[in-house]
Symmetry: C2
Subunit: 205 residues, 2 copies
DNA sequence: CTACAAATTGCCTGTTGTGCAATAATTCTC
DNA sequence: GAGAATTATTGCACAACAGGCAATTTGTAG
């Protein structure tokens, strides 16, 4: 079903994750300007040249660490229990719900706070979000065995990810499950927002 | 209605556009790797330091040149003749239609072709598209005088721009007005695609 | 006209990107 | 399982880049 991973590919991905994680950790406790690529590779024990083989800059590494599935298994977990012929919209809704883990929220929160202080991050956040989108898209394509056209899937997934983007790029303030919704004045509940999105998409605007 | 521009601001924007345009031109006839920041500032007759004051790298300049309104007037032209109490969805549809000029198509086409050869561009394309989105959003917010919540506008505009994104980041092949739709095997008509988007958003998926 | 604010510039230095060639690790073929 | 082919990692070297600082020019305000 899924692409099989050669040992070589697994190792390559592992070094990528190691580098990205190191970058993310450094960013969290020193800020984006508080460290260099050399610091990253020193922490992850790789060469600077290798870092450049995986990422174009530290911003890309940081965003990737926060918004990437670490394994195909992690991506497949989004599927959970879905019957083969669930409608496309329901499948996507299901996957979005499965994505809402405490870990995901925590990383998102950190990422947004970093990007607020340093807008250089934003392009790479959008780019990482796009990779998440493509994962979802690919899963849906496989799962729906030709019931929907490529164009249709692109369109729907694009609309959903476009609508949640403001939560990730910092244009909207989010409140998370643990927090009371009225704590921050203008903050929006992540889960309610997603529900709203799907309500509109289901019934039209 | 719109924010008035001091002479100083106008001049600053002008140098920004001059630099961005120079970068875009160079990218078109030498490719993204075929020139340096020095080449850009030499062509636009500014200092390298000034370039850094406006853009973080040449990719950002290139994407900005292709996907930015050069003046507030150009942005306001999108409004055209719209009555004050047009429904939000209709206003947005109208604006998307107004955006479809030959010039816009041409720039988009060039941008996509550049990003295909050099994926480094992609994050900055997404970022530039986000700026376009924000312009649209701001216009709609002003134009709809509190008839819709901030959240609602964010959501709708996000969905639309998310859905058209594949046309700009190169994940879908586009055919343009001049070309026959069946010329390229898998190519999609830009205008038909947008119409499809709005059909779905109107009536639900 | 004068004082103020902001944009542009040059200079400088630490940081970064990348081609090339060498090495080490994995995969393939027989 | 041994040797050949592929690919990831690394070091080196050098051009390109980012950003702080201070000086200068140019627009703004009173």
């Amino acid at each position: 079903m899924m692409s099989k991973q050669s040992l070589r590919e697994l190792k390559k991905e592992a070094t990528g994750h190691a580098l990205a994680d190191a970058a993310f950790e450094l960013a969290i406790d020193r800020g984006l300007d508080g460290f260099t690529v050399d610091d990253i590779v020193q922490r992850a024990v790789y060469s600077r040249r290798t870092f450049a083989n995986h990422f174009s800059c530290k911003e890309e590494a940081v965003a990737t660490a926060a918004l990437t599935f670490k394994s195909t298994k992690e991506a497949e977990d989004l599927i959970g229990d879905m019957s083969e012929n669930t409608p496309l919209l329901d499948m996507l809704y299901h996957m979005m719900k499965m994505q809402m883990t405490a870990d995901h929220f925590w990383k998102m929160r950190k990422l947004v706070s970093l990007s607020r202080r340093n807008p250089t991050l934003v392009p790479y956040i959008l780019s990482a979000l796009q990779r998440l989108k493509k994962s979802a898209q690919q899963i849906l394509t496989e799962l729906s065995h030709g019931r929907y056209s490529n164009e249709h899937i692109h369109l729907l997934v694009g609309a959903v990810y476009g609508a949640i983007q403001p939560l990730y790029d910092g244009s909207l303030d989010v409140s998370l499950p643990g927090e009371s919704a009225s704590e921050t004045s203008e903050a929006i509940s992540y889960e309610q927002y997603v529900d709203t999105i799907f309500n509109y998409l289901r019934n039209g605007f």
